[in-house]
Symmetry: C2
Subunit: 335 residues, 2 copies
């Protein structure tokens, strides 16, 4: 660390022959400074190459222009499109708003030092529930992203995953499929549970029954998709369409089918979830349910800032809608 005496606001004030407070006003673009003094201060700042000390500003103003993003610590989540888009979206939004983004990985034990940030975005409330509650109790502005939390008076921005499951199911039913299976996401997560729920809801609506083994529990990983799809293929009466709870899983299933010489969509239709940009490459462009993760992250940052600044006093509760993106991986079933 380079040790040289910092030039302080006091040095500037002395040189400009005004008070410290006046210098501060010039720095912060207040109107109430007469022109001669303002010019003198600006001259002094330039001459001395003065830069305010961030810690002192934060201390004095009581704000810190920083928000936290808390991610659960299990490695798997980092390899998901969801996490990447979240980090990217929150990162870009913070950059735009000139906020420091303090990134935390929780191990389930450590208490995050929420004192260095004005508010916190939690990427998952399953693993972090204790921390969310602690932060709320401490009066820290909190926002849970991608989870709809009804049993806690906390802000959230999420996706209507039930609707997402319905969209996928409806589309496949509409194409004329009657043997529709699914490989689910991690059923410990809200998204995994709700996408399955929406999917089942559609089948019920159409009085269709779910054949034995038509729900394969996955965990969003490619491996689990492969395992689930292999089981589906080995059923006595295999499905003609598969809803995969993520695009990554869908891509792996397509790869598996290709290996076995099963054509997509002619033999089996596949629909994914996410709208991962990589789905338009590969052997067949994937039809999918798009969830606006990037925008969700941006909105989360903006909402949290509103909460921090007190412009928003009641918890924010927002649910974004996913939408169907039709590409080439689904068609009507063969006769």
């Amino acid at each position: 660390m380079i040790k040289k005496k910092r030039i302080s606001i006091e040095d500037v004030a002395r040189r400009a022959k005004v008070s410290i407070a006046t210098v501060s006003r010039v720095l912060n673009n207040f109107q109430s400074v007469n022109n001669k003094n303002r010019a003198a201060v600006e001259e002094a700042i330039a001459a001395l190459k003065y830069k305010p000390d961030v810690s002192a500003q934060r201390l004095a103003s009581g704000t810190n222009n920083a928000i936290g993003l808390v991610m659960p610590g299990y490695p798997g989540i980092f390899y998901s499109f969801y996490a990447v888009e979240l980090i990217r979206g929150v990162g870009h939004a913070c950059e735009k708003l000139h906020l420091d983004l303090v990134f935390h990985i929780t191990n389930g034990f450590n208490d995050l030092n929420s004192t260095s940030v004005g508010g916190v975005i939690f990427a998952d409330i399953i693993e972090n529930r204790r921390q969310v509650e602690a932060a709320l109790n401490a009066g820290v502005a909190c926002l849970v992203i991608n989870n709809i939390v009804e049993d806690l008076d906390v802000s959230y921005i999420g996706i209507d995953n039930v609707l997402g499951g319905e969209i996928a199911g409806d589309y496949l039913v509409g194409l004329g499929h009657s043997r529709i299976a699914t490989v689910t996401g991690n059923l410990q997560t809200q998204s995994g549970k709700q996408r399955l729920e929406g999917f089942k809801k559609v089948l019920k609506k159409h009085n269709m029954t779910l054949a034995d083994g038509y729900v394969q529990e996955g965990d969003y990983s490619r491996r689990s998709a492969r395992v689930g799809a292999e089981k589906l293929l080995s059923l006595p009466n295999p499905p003609t369409a598969i809803f995969a709870a993520s695009d990554e899983m869908a891509l792996e299933i397509v790869a598996l089918l290709m290996e076995r010489g099963i054509k997509v969509p002619q033999d089996i239709s596949i629909i994914g979830f996410d709208d991962n940009p990589s789905v338009i490459y590969g052997p067949v462009a994937l039809t999918t349910v798009k969830q606006p993760l990037f925008q969700m992250a941006e909105e989360a940052v903006k909402s949290l800032q509103g909460l921090i600044q007190g412009k928003q006093t009641k918890p924010v509760k927002k649910v974004l809608k996913p939408e169907l993106v039709v590409r080439d991986s689904c068609s009507s079933p063969k006769k």
Copy 2:
């Protein structure tokens, strides 16, 4: 923002009937506090539920216990295993060392506000060269990760990518292949260039010539891998082995070959790069060149902290070695 009068160190001092300095010493575990006073201070802290103000601590100490991680802004990098491991590794290391990790995405224009951190890790120097130089000039501790920078007096921790390319090439040559092709990474990046360089070096060493079209330029994306591999397959004399510059690319090539009924490794051997955990699933476990990204990130944080604290004065220059991980995607060529 909740407005309530904070209890300050002064309140604690008053209650414990000692000076502010003594309270501070108790807080920071100094030995030189007599037991009676220490007990009194601890009682007061507990009774008043006192929590030090982070900004005040940072101001007074002149340190901030925070480091920055700067990523380039183009979306592609986020979808790479490299970026994910980097973020994860740096994140975990910071958590362990109780450092705030301030995450920045550069758009090539914005000057990062390095004043709120003690040092900065740059994830890429191609896009950020200007910022690196500016930070160095400002006397901020800097470390470039995953790039070996010889023309600038800056710390770096990188991987010997030339060696990585050699390892891949050597292994394939050793298996008896003579028609070996490669799909490269992004040749704008150091890693892409160097892996190709190492690969070429091996062929030269063995007096093997690179047939026309045997070097397909990719950019680490699955799409580019597919395009490149398709071109390789359409050559009059297609290769019997392919070195892909990343596992993601290798997986996509395997998928393509499977679709076409070409067996891996019987018909064509594939070797990847990274040791992405997902490569052990899929139709064939991938042989690959492992690069210790997570450890690299951890070491980067530790080294940067040494630099910040002044324990390390000369730039850190460290190059980690990749190593071969043999699985099932390579074999000797068919006769």
